[in-house]
């Protein structure tokens, strides 16, 4: 009998502990599939975040270094400079990468650091219980913006991909959704391309995943998916933000 679907080898046989409707599990699985298909599991090192996905190391069968909130790109830099032939990626939430770790991610991109960052954007601090993040959109209610984020008082959401686009060191930047099978298939190609950007030494790469947080958004999973597609994606337009063509790496 022909196997047409199985668990990727790099995804360990452990039930995900994320909330129902959260897309961390999907993103983990995509990572595992791409790592398997590229055949890099034996020399790939993940650097974890502080946030809901602090447990990412539990699920993926690769070496991991867990560090401090927001500092994963610096830690990944240290690893990559020490081990230039290994594949090094960071996995970070929006509080981690776009608030406390802004400096580290911007400068890693500016240096053209040969690492890949996977950025799960759910427009909120998830683990601490739904506080406002730099990515929280205008009018969005959180536990620290109970009247809705006011751009007058709290400013505008930070669009990390667009911010990094202007840096010469960034070689590949893309924003994806995982809300439909078609989007997931497209996202997988984006994940693959991010790793290839590193492996082929083109420069820094980052993939932003717009991801639902039904728990803190106080929605059902279905409502949350709809909100990602109809509202969040409106503020953060999906697509390739900076492709190899733009950076002269095509072909």
């Amino acid at each position: 009998m022909k196997t047409i679907f199985e668990r990727p080898k790099t995804l360990l046989e452990k039930p995900f502990t994320y909330c129902p409707g959260c897309h961390h599990g999907l993103a983990h699985r995509l990572l595992a599939e791409v790592i398997d298909e590229l055949g890099i599991a034996d020399h790939t090192i993940g650097v974890g975040p502080v946030g809901c996905s602090v447990y990412i190391y539990v699920f993926l069968d690769i070496d991991f270094v867990m560090g401090a909130h927001g500092r994963a790109p610096a830690t990944a830099t240290g690893l990559k400079r020490a081990l230039p032939e290994q594949v090094v990626f960071s996995y970070q939430g929006d509080g981690d990468i776009a608030a406390i770790g802004t400096s580290e991610i911007i400068h890693s991109a500016a240096r053209g650091e040969l690492i890949s960052a996977f950025f799960i954007n759910n427009a909120i601090f998830g683990m601490t219980g739904g506080q406002m993040a730099p990515t929280t959109i205008s009018g969005q209610v959180t536990t620290t913006s109970p009247r809705g984020r006011s751009t007058v008082d709290q400013g505008y959401p930070l669009k990390l991909c667009e911010l990094l686009r202007g840096l010469e060191g960034s070689a590949y930047l893309a924003r994806v959704l995982l809300t439909r099978p078609k989007y997931i298939r497209e996202a997988k190609e984006v994940f693959r391309k991010a790793f290839l950007t590193q492996i082929e030494k083109k420069g820094f790469s980052l993939v932003e995943v717009l991801s639902p947080c039904p728990t803190n958004w106080k929605m059902t999973p279905a409502e949350a998916v709809a909100w990602v597609e109809n509202t969040l994606a409106h503020s953060f337009p999906p697509g390739e933000i900076k492709g190899w063509e733009e950076t002269g790496h095509a072909g």
């Binding site: 599991a41 034996d42 020399h43 790939t44 090192i45 650097v47 602090v54 190391y57 069968d61 690769i62 070496d63 991991f64 270094v65 867990m66 560090g67 401090a68 500092r71 610096a74 830690t75 990944a76 830099t77 240290g78 690893l79 990559k80 400079r81 020490a82 081990l83 290994q86 594949v87 400096s103 580290e104 911007i106 400068h107």
Partner: protein
């Protein structure tokens, strides 16, 4: 072997290269920037990596990553920059990652100034970041000792899988003295068992800096405590100098330690018998020798370039057996032989009537 006249900062950098430092990450701050400059020239020639980080915080986590990869790695800074690194130092201790940290300290608090100071003693020896941890702290008093302790620092870091801090000051960093590079060839410590490389053909590995289960975190803390206890048993270093039958014991480390040697000699000329204990490791602290020497002298005078930090550890060490006096200068002021002699005479003449400190 050939003597070279060398600046302290350059000498630390050269010793690090000779000790096998593969990577260095740093951020410019006076009075230690020459370390970065030197390594930016020298490390690439040895196949090593020099990278100027975007911040002190960036630098310490680059150290974290490179240390996880099992490489010999170093960063250096001073005062305000070292404060920024404290978060990372706590993580390094938690994750048990070896590295060497150089603090060429300066006057504080705040931006303070760039002159020599010992005001970072508490930060260095008591665990300057959050959590229950210790960093091994080495305090050189000359350019030669900066070199010798740099070799030692890399070895001890690997031996204990713990950060080792070299605590100097602006004077040691900026001054030139003749120095000889004698790499003592400490034994290699294998990192095969824990190093992160990508899993290759083995089981995967994880470097963790947390344990959400309290039972597990207590276990980690007890394991760290055992390492610290072993350091206290095995790694204490100090120098004893001066009279065998002292009337007063002097205690000072680093730059002050060498000034106190001049005091001992000056006193001898005047017929006053002084002894000096100069702690070389500040953590672990040389408690026993201090207790013994202090008892022998009957009283002790601690001199520091701060307003009273190590004096607390001296008092703990002598356990109330003898009176402990203090003389401190701060803000980048360097105590002079003359002023310390005045304090010595005051203490010896007035005994119990003498002021406890010069503040």
């Amino acid at each position: 072997m050939q003597k070279i006249l060398m600046k302290g900062n350059d000498a630390v950098a050269e010793a690090a290269v000779q000790a096998g430092c593969n990577l260095y990450f740093g951020y410019p701050i006076t009075p230690q920037t020459e370390i970065s400059e030197y390594l930016s020239r020298r490390l690439p020639d040895t196949g090593g990596v020099f990278l100027q980080a975007e911040s002190e915080i960036g630098a310490i986590y680059m150290v974290y990553g490179a240390a996880a990869a099992g490489k010999r790695v170093m960063t250096s800074s001073s005062g305000p920059g070292f404060s920024l690194k404290q978060e990372g130092i706590s993580y390094l201790c938690s994750a048990e990652l070896p590295c060497v940290l150089v603090n060429i300290s300066r006057g504080g608090p705040g931006l303070g100034n760039i002159q020599p100071s010992q005001a970072d003693y508490f930060q260095a020896v008591k665990g300057g970041g959050h959590g229950d941890y210790r960093v091994l702290v080495l305090a050189p008093c000359s350019v030669q000792e900066l070199v010798d302790l740099t070799y030692l620092a890399f070895y001890l870091a690997d031996k204990y899988r713990n950060p080792v801090e070299i605590l100097g000051d602006g004077m040691l960093g900026q001054m030139m003295e003749p120095v000889v590079f004698r790499n003592p060839d400490y034994p290699d410590i294998s990192k095969e068992e824990w190093v992160i490389t990508g899993k290759k053909t083995r089981e995967r590995r994880i470097i963790l800096c947390f344990a959400l289960d309290p039972k597990e975190l207590e276990k980690l803390n007890l394991h760290l405590a055992e390492k610290y206890a072993e350091m206290e048993r095995s790694e204490v270093l100090y120098e004893v100098y001066g009279s065998e039958q002292p009337e007063l014991l002097l205690v000072g480390y680093g730059t002050v330690g060498r000034i106190l040697k001049s005091v001992v000699r000056e006193a001898e000329k005047q017929g006053i018998r002084l002894a000096l204990v100069r702690p070389v490791t500040l953590y672990p602290f040389p408690k026993e020798i201090l207790r013994g020497q202090a008892r022998k002298a009957g009283k002790a005078l601690v001199v520091e370039m701060n307003l009273g930090q190590m004096v607390e550890d001296v008092k703990l060490s002598v356990e109330g057996d003898v009176p402990v006096y203090f003389h401190g200068r701060s803000g980048g002021m360097i105590p002079t032989v003359e002023e310390i002699m005045h304090r010595v005479e005051e203490i010896l003449l007035k005994g119990g009537e003498a002021r406890e400190n010069n503040l």
